[in-house]
Symmetry: C2
Subunit: 507 residues, 2 copies
């Protein structure tokens, strides 16, 4: 078996030897001898430049050696081969499951089978059209506020008695702000309440419902950010001081110049939830980039749809009775099976939305800051994950909830508890409303993050690889392998319990 490496080394080894009958034919060639197999083991003994013509006596066991897996081994071998094996086994195991699934269910993909009501689509489109209007109502409110502020500035300029004026001024501003705040609250709340009401009671299809809910929440958050930011901008204009400096980047468009339809429209469409009068912009739109991202997005969406229909749906379906009778072993088995699928869908979904879609949108909007996520997959604490996987929401929370609360003297823990409470409510709405089941699982799941973060916090400071591996594993298991599939299973169960399947075919 050695030969083929020999061929790589020496073309032909032709050195003296003796055949089984003792006829010796000597055609020595020390050159060839150098590269001959036994030599490689016998050169170790000194002064054996000439190769023995007796091949059967070569001393292959010529020195003390250890097995490379023994503890007392001097060399520690690489195990990269096992990493490759791991990947291969993973592929094979999943291929097998695909074959098994096919033999069990055949092809489950069926476009016609899917029934959505005309009414759902109709209502959905109306909501989609209406929701952004609230943003423009917010604009009008801000316009009024800006007028009032400009007036105030004018007055302050004219007046001479600063001290008395400023006091009067402050009170005036406050009363106005109360009014504005009230108007904003009514406007924003209306946006959310109407959507929730319509989706919960009139839009049966969970998919369409989710899209509407998702859209409404995003616009609502933008609405809040717009109101808060403009309030602070206005106030900093009215009370110029060292501490009320506004960021350099805004200087090109100072308040109230930013309160325009164009400016708002940009914020409405930009891939961010944090309002700024000015954003870093890219010089031009690379349409090829946009095209690639959109192709990715479409391909991944189809992939997700196929995976859910062919693999997730059956698992969910045939785990229903298990849940009904609380057969614990089976439920665990089902969750384990679901976990891999939901993980794949989750990863595909993440990439489709945060990499492909948001980058495409940003490119079209010439939006400069593309850091929609950082390398959350390496995070070795749950806190790190939440800070890195969804930057748009994270930045909103940090700017409009966490930071102000901390500024008002809240303890960071209390502030972030607030953040998670808020985000828990939004999550429950996002999942519970379209599935018509406010069972509070998403809510609980989000709040559960707080203890998880607290537990894994010590890991963040530690810097040895082992800790990181442990922390990272804790994150993966808790979030992707237990949290998500369990949640999906429970909402699906609740849905089925209430309506039965959304799909016509039942097996």
């Amino acid at each position: 078996m050695a030969s083929l490496i020999e061929t790589a080394v020496s073309t032909s080894v032709d050195v003296p030897s003796i055949d089984i009958n003792g006829h010796s034919k000597s055609t020595s060639s020390s050159k060839a001898a150098k590269t001959s197999p036994a030599e490689s083991l016998t050169t170790k003994t000194p002064g054996r430049s000439v190769r023995s013509k007796y091949r059967h006596i070569a001393a292959y066991h010529s020195e003390l050696r250890t097995s490379c897996l023994s503890r007392d081994s001097t060399v520690n071998p690489s195990f990269i081969g096992f990493r490759n094996l791991m990947v291969i086994v993973l592929i094979v195991m999943n291929l097998r499951l695909i074959v098994e699934n096919f033999m069990k269910y055949g092809v489950l993909i069926c476009i016609k089978c899917h029934d959505y009501r005309r009414n759902d689509v109709f209502l959905g489109s109306i909501l989609f059209a209406l929701v952004p209007c609230h943003l423009f109502v917010a604009y009008i409110i801000e316009l009024a506020a800006a007028q009032q502020a400009k007036g105030a500035v004018g007055r302050t300029k004219k007046s001479h008695d600063q001290a008395a004026e400023s006091e009067k001024e402050r009170r005036a501003f406050q009363s106005t702000w109360r009014l504005i705040a009230f108007a904003h609250t009514v406007n924003a709340t209306l946006c959310l309440v109407v959507t929730n009401f319509v989706v919960y009671y009139y839009i049966h299809h969970p998919g369409i419902g989710t899209i509407c809910e998702f859209h409404a929440i995003i616009v609502w958050l933008k609405n809040c950010s717009y109101a808060f930011t403009n309030r602070d901008l206005r106030h900093s204009m009215l009370h110029p001081s060292e501490q009320s400096k506004i960021p350099e980047i805004y200087s090109t468009c100072p308040y109230p110049k930013n309160v325009t339809v164009g400016n708002l429209t940009y914020f409405w469409l930009a891939p961010t939830l944090v309002y700024q009068p000015v954003y870093p912009r890219t010089p031009r739109i690379r349409w090829s980039f946009v095209g690639k991202r959109l192709v990715e997005f479409v391909v991944l969406s189809v992939f997700i749809w196929l995976t859910s229909a062919q693999y997730a749906a059956p698992v969910l379906r045939n785990s229903l009775e298990k849940i009904a009778v609380l057969d614990f072993t089976s439920i665990v088995e089902r969750i384990m099976k679901l976990s891999t699928i939901s993980l794949v869908i989750w990863l595909a979904g993440f990439f489709a939305l945060f990499q492909s879609f948001l980058n495409a949108l940003a490119e079209v909007m010439r939006f400069g800051d593309r850091e929609f996520y950082s390398d959350w997959w390496n995070s070795w604490s749950v806190g790190m994950y939440w800070r890195s996987w969804n930057k748009p929401v994270y930045l909103f929370m940090k700017r409009h909830i966490f930071s102000p609360l901390v500024g008002r003297g809240w303890s960071p823990f209390a502030a972030s508890a607030m953040v998670f409470l808020f985000s828990a409510i939004l999550h429950e709405l996002l999942v519970g409303i379209p599935t018509h089941n406010l069972i509070g699982v998403a809510f609980a799941g989000m709040l559960l993050q707080l203890p998880l973060i607290t537990v894994t916090l010590p890991l963040e400071k530690r810097d040895d690889p082992t800790t990181r591996i442990i922390g990272n594993s804790v994150f993966w298991v808790s979030f992707c392998l237990v949290g998500q599939p369990l949640g999906a299973l429970l909402y699906f169960f609740a849905w089925q319990a209430k309506y039965g399947s959304v799909s016509k075919l039942e097996n």
Copy 2:
């Protein structure tokens, strides 16, 4: 969500801010400001050492950034997190299969169920006792040869006419060697033939049969090595020359001093198939080391037994009808399922035998050269694998087949073809005889290695990681994920077709 990292950084952030109703409470502290969240994003703009008291206007989007997964990203993030995920998914998937298997079959481990015939054990023990005797017959043959050689040396010393003598001498040696060779051949062949005959016709149980066959083949190989080595040693003694130098290490025990019962017994028990008069020895026996290795060996053996009984057996059983009706898809699915199990068993078996057992034996024998394998799992060509996974056999083949043939002018390819042919026959005996089915699958499997080696040979020379990954994957797939399970399946099928199960319980 940011808070908990904040706590890690600054104990309490208490900087000026304005609450929703416009009451501003100023307790500035530029120290705290340094460590506050927004600051981290706003310090980028120069000259903003003092933190704005308006938290809602912090410019979080202050510069051009790319998503870290984009091609145009400057940083390329680590993906270690996904490696961890891979391991976790692998564990979860297999845990699931264990649960599934348990729900399907319950506990299949059953010691009483296993039936072996008294007769099998009886015959097995006799074979075990007889086989080594052939080794001592070989010793007697060598003893005679040594005597004759010593006589010859004496005669050469007396004689003066070297030229004439040496010619006569050579002929004399040859005739004697023919006799010795004949005796050895008869003796060795008898050892193998008898075992094969008894195992094939009289030992029903495949396990016991395999052990006997295994033992017989090992002793037979030792027998051959002993004969060939002593022949060359003798010849080099009779014809001393520059080319007939013997390795340094043998000098402490020159021929014919080495032809003793003690010396042979050591070779018989030593963990090698290559006879040397002298081996590198360790100074002392570390009994703790021996103990640990033996514990490993026992634990792994039990593990292998449990795995085969609980996981491999059912898969093999319920794939029988699939093979019978040649349901291709199902066969593929079964092989895929089997591959993971057989891989685990194979790896456990490798470690148990080559690391635990051989090291324990070597320690007891104070055998110095423990290199029973090198890091075969990293090999990126099939050839590398065969040269590194089983050193004892590899060294035998290299010293007593490959090297002599090459020495006699064979091309390295022809020589290694010979090696694989020889090894193929042995493999077929090892598997076919105990299962009473010489269906030639093992034989074919071994010969199939030659084309595989030739195909993957070019990869050996290339040194880029990608090539190595590809080559390594080819090796893993061809050998561990297809070759072995397929082979196992076929022999199991043949066995079942002939006898039905060896186990009483059938499901």
